[in-house]
């Protein structure tokens, strides 16, 4: 057995896909409790929340014809989404030492302004917390099987994948999952 690997602690990883909203302070307390229960002291916590923007005009050819954006309908592949996000977190763990992460991604119809995704990352130092948080989001956006449909006042349209999301992976110098 590789002693270096054996001495490394695996981070606490928890991934949830849900239709209901989430409460960031409550989720943060849960993460802190999980660390305390495992006698782990953290030094840094990065929190990212993504929400439904009021406009998606840049993503559509003729968005003006549809009127205001009302909501996003988020579909997913239940058997695959959680596994994929867990695999991304484990890939991050091979690169940076971090203590815990919790990822919540919502599905179903989400109105403008509602939160979509939460990524909490606890580590000993800020550098790892920021890096792991961004890494998880970058890979989630390009590998986790979620699809957004934009619901406008008049009509609806599937959101197209962005080249910039795929290009964001370049900074990690890893192939896409």
């Amino acid at each position: 057995m590789d002693i270096n690997n054996a001495s490394k602690l695996s981070p606490l990883v928890s991934v949830v896909i849900q239709s209901s909203t989430f409460d960031v302070p409550a989720e943060t307390r849960l993460l802190e409790k999980a660390l305390a229960d495992n006698r782990i002291n953290m030094g840094a916590l990065a929190t990212f929340t993504g929400s439904v923007r009021g406009s998606e005009t840049g993503a559509f050819d003729d968005a003006a014809a549809y009127g205001e954006l009302l909501a996003l309908d988020i579909e997913h592949y239940p058997a695959m989404t959680q596994l994929t996000i867990e695999a991304i977190a484990l890939k991050a763990a091979q690169r940076w030492p971090f203590l815990a992460c919790r990822v919540i991604h919502r599905v179903g119809r989400l109105a403008v302004g509602e939160p979509i995704v939460l990524v909490l990352v606890a580590s000993s130092h800020r550098k790892e917390a920021f890096a792991v948080c961004e890494f998880i989001l970058d890979y989630l956006k390009t590998a986790a099987p979620f699809w957004k449909k934009a619901i406008f006042e008049q009509g609806e349209q599937w959101v197209a994948a962005k080249v910039s999301d795929t290009e964001a992976l370049d900074k990690w110098s890893l192939p896409s999952l």
């Binding site: 579909e75 997913h76 592949y77 991604h105 699809w147 999952l177």
Partner: protein, 82 residues
């Protein structure tokens, strides 16, 4: 039997979220698509698009990937979560 799932825009365009196909020896993703194309229904040509992602048992694979009896396949457009 092979279970095949379709998601998002592809599900809507094909008008189906799930179908089953009888497994055959040496079946690959490409040969499965070819088999569907022999059904005289042009809609399956949508599966030929380069951007369509294929997963076997929840793992993304290439068109040359082998399919085993009982596998779950999924075809879907590029993902847009986060």
């Amino acid at each position: 039997m092979i279970k095949i799932l379709f998601f998002a825009r592809l599900r809507e365009q094909l008008g189906t979220r799930e179908c089953s196909v009888t497994w055959s020896d040496n079946m690959t993703v490409q040969s499965l698509i070819n088999h569907l194309l022999t059904n005289n229904d042009d809609k399956w040509q949508l599966l030929l698009a380069d951007e369509v992602v294929v997963a076997i048992n929840q793992q993304v694979v290439g068109r040359d990937a082998r399919i085993k009896d009982g596998d779950e396949l999924a075809f879907f457009p590029p993902v847009t979560g986060g």
